[in-house]
């Protein structure tokens, strides 16, 4: 895989896979999948019963515990990418793919220090329910809130379309019902519990599927060691056939690999489907253990990502497996050939459920942007937010499913935006803005606009092959760093307005 192509993979969280998977229609796999979907549906029904207000629908009534927060953050961070796209990426580019997950030991604590406490306190003081809400309150700026809402909505539709396409591919691989039916079946089930149970359904399905992902990951990792003759055996085999694969950057350049580290490290502070969950913790004192528990869960679950990628590479080098035409087949083919069928079934169902939970999170924040943030920025407040939240969830879901089914290449194009757009538009205003009294409204609006424009313009030009950056430079990385510099630069130039854009109660939250 060329380095240029890797630029697009900065949206990997949104791209579990975009090509057809091998069909794995086996009675065991089908039955495990049916049971899995039944459990998810039951959780959705229970969550619907619990959801009575807009606060329940969007922030789970600020009532979730530490385990639910940690597992749902872990699940939302990884999605199906951890099990399908990620191992395929490791198989393709070697150790360079590890730079996506390399900052994981730092990102959860960073998020906790920079955002968790302040967002949770802001929810207490101002009853904020969305990240654009928090930006609007911080800068006393409906315009900043609206711009952040628009950025989220654009990225969410792209993310959802690519995830729904991936979900259709996985369901088709398991049930053999065709891509179109796979898309609508998967989207229908997800929408049913998302519309009824809102984020409560998303959180608790995340807990269920996240726990299974962690267990399955450890088991599959043990099988990869067995198949490859231990980590020593895997390394020695790969070093004979492709030494660069296990070089520090894999098949990437140092700049490209380090760029992954930067974008997936600092950029994690701008991922709304993860950060949004900080509003929901019942007891903020439980945050003490959040980084430790979440990071441990992430590391355990990433064992499969690394293990399958390197084991399949070793197996292809020694000739035990044929080289893969489609790297996304690394996990399905390894599972079918080297693990018990029940474990393979668990992983396949886990992938579908992981994608569904991510889609659910996006449905929720997309609906919030559509019916709350954008209207508020225009000076309108919708009366029945619960009803309109549900209606917007349906509208966004149907739009994303139609895009996934009928837009062809456009869906891949939209998916490219995801992570980078969130990072470049939200990190400066949110992460730095909530920690620096000198930030100004003009700085926030300028940085959000910079992230939005650079990402959209250059990703569009790269997609249509009108222009692409030199090797090692990614649109996501460049737009993130430029939006940070613009934020500081414009805030400095307008520093005389800093005090007037900071309400006294928000200052209390920032100084806490």
């Amino acid at each position: 895989m060329g380095v240029a192509a890797v630029s697009g993979l900065l949206a990997v969280g949104a791209l579990p896979q975009a090509q057809e998977l091998p069909h794995v229609v086996e009675p065991t796999i089908v039955w495990v999948a049916v049971v899995y979907f039944a459990v998810v549906t039951a959780i959705g029904a229970w969550a619907t019963y619990r959801t009575r207000t807009a606060g329940d629908f969007f922030v789970a009534g600020k009532g979730i515990g530490l385990a639910a927060l940690s597992l749902s953050v872990m699940s939302a961070t990884l999605s199906g990418f951890a099990f399908i796209g990620g191992p395929g990426l490791v198989y393709s580019i070697g150790l360079g793919a590890m730079f996506i997950i390399l900052p994981a030991a730092l990102t959860n604590a960073m998020g906790a220090w920079v955002l968790a406490k302040r967002l949770r306190l802001m929810a207490e003081v101002r009853r904020t329910i969305t990240l654009p809400d928090a930006i609007g309150a911080r800068f006393r700026s409906p315009a900043a809130q609206g711009l952040a809402g628009v950025s989220i909505l654009v990225a969410v539709i792209g993310y959802m379309a690519t995830n729904i396409l991936a979900l259709g591919l996985v369901i088709d691989a398991v049930f053999g019902i065709g891509l179109g039916w796979g898309i609508w079946l998967g989207m229908g089930i997800t929408m049913a519990y998302a519309v009824g149970g809102g984020i409560v359904a998303g959180i608790y399905t995340d807990v269920f599927q996240g726990s299974l992902m962690a267990v399955a990951s450890v088991l599959v990792f043990l099988f990869t060691l067995q198949a490859g003759g231990g980590l020593d055996g895997i390394s020695l085999t790969i070093l004979e056939g492709d030494p660069e694969f296990l070089g520090p950057w894999g098949h990437l350049t140092p700049l490209a690999a380090l760029s992954f580290f930067f974008v997936f490290g600092l950029g994690s502070l701008g991922q709304p489907h993860v950060v949004h969950k900080f509003f929901m913790l019942r007891d903020p004192l439980k945050l003490r253990w959040y980084p430790l528990v979440t990071t441990l869960a992430l590391i355990i679950t990433m064992l499969l990502y690394f293990g399958v990628g390197v084991a399949v590479k070793a197996l292809t080098v020694e000739g035990a497996m044929a080289p893969l035409a489609n790297p996304d087949n690394a996990t399905p083919l390894f599972l079918l050939n080297y693990t018990p069928l029940v474990l393979a079934a668990l992983v396949f169902s886990g992938v579908a459920a992981a994608i569904m939970s991510t889609v659910n999170s996006f449905m929720n924040i997309g609906a919030a942007a559509m019916m709350h943030d954008i209207p508020v920025s225009l000076g309108k407040r919708i009366d029945n937010e619960l009803l309109w939240g549900r209606i917007c969830t349906v509208l966004i879901s149907v739009a994303a499913a139609l895009l996934a089914q009928y837009s062809g290449m456009l869906v891949a194009f939209l998916g490219v935006f995801g992570w980078g757009l969130f990072a470049s538009t939200l990190v400066p205003a949110l992460a730095i803005g909530l920690n620096w009294e000198g930030a100004t409204r003009a700085g926030a609006i300028a940085s959000i606009s910079t992230g939005l424009v650079i990402t959209l313009v250059f990703e569009t030009m790269a997609f249509f092959e009108l222009y692409s950056f030199p090797v090692g430079v990614t649109v996501a990385g460049l737009s993130l760093v430029l939006s940070i510099l613009v934020f500081f630069g414009v805030s400095y130039l307008t520093r005389h307005t800093a005090a007037e854009t900071l309400d006294p109660d928000i200052r209390v939250v920032m100084e806490a």
Binding site: A112, L239, L266, L287, G438, D503, D505
Partner: protein, 166 residues
């Protein structure tokens, strides 16, 4: 970034470090547009910038009343791990063909990436967060105190407290 007459606190130092590291990253990116391709110093600059921006952002979020308390120890250690690890990887030559030296199952440079940069910070940073939580993040009673202080700041003192105040 700081009041005139006052020294720079941890928050101001962290902000300065974020700005400088973002500039370093931007320069490293810009160097890739030079006619001869990415110069040899660019990955070094990018490595320094990305390591610093991560640690500085954590320090920015962690600072309270202008201080990061004991956290300077884990932050300094992580900075050493990141700079040392990436620097070692950039400086070390590739393994000789036929030299199967492995560290915990991986070639040395790969082992540094995964174990030193990827794994070791887990034992420092999340643990440091829990360790300093009472001092720098929240302790019992803070939530009520902050909520009340914020409401007072907004001129919305709870009714029961207004009576007490009068």
């Amino acid at each position: 970034m700081t009041d005139a007459g006052k020294g720079m606190g941890a928050r101001e130092w962290a902000l300065l470090a974020v700005v400088l590291s973002a500039l370093a990253i931007a320069v490293a990116y810009a160097s890739a547009f030079l006619p001869g391709g990415t110069p040899g110093w660019a990955p070094w600059l990018f490595m320094a910038g990305t390591s610093l921006i991560m640690v500085a952002t954590m320090a920015l979020g962690a600072s309270r009343d202008g201080s990061i308390g004991k956290l300077w120890i884990p932050f300094a250690l992580v900075m050493v791990l990141l700079l040392g690890g990436f620097g070692l990887v950039l400086a070390l030559p590739p393994a000789e063909p036929g030299d199967p030296a492995l560290w915990l199952g991986l070639p040395p440079r790969a082992a540094v990436i995964l174990y030193v940069i990827g794994f070791l910070p887990f034992f420092l940073i999340p643990v440091a967060y829990a360790w300093t939580f009472d001092e720098l993040t929240l302790k019992p009673g803070d939530l009520e105190r902050i909520r009340e202080k914020a409401l007072r700041a907004r001129g919305e003192i709870p009714l029961d407290r207004r009576e007490e105040d009068s």
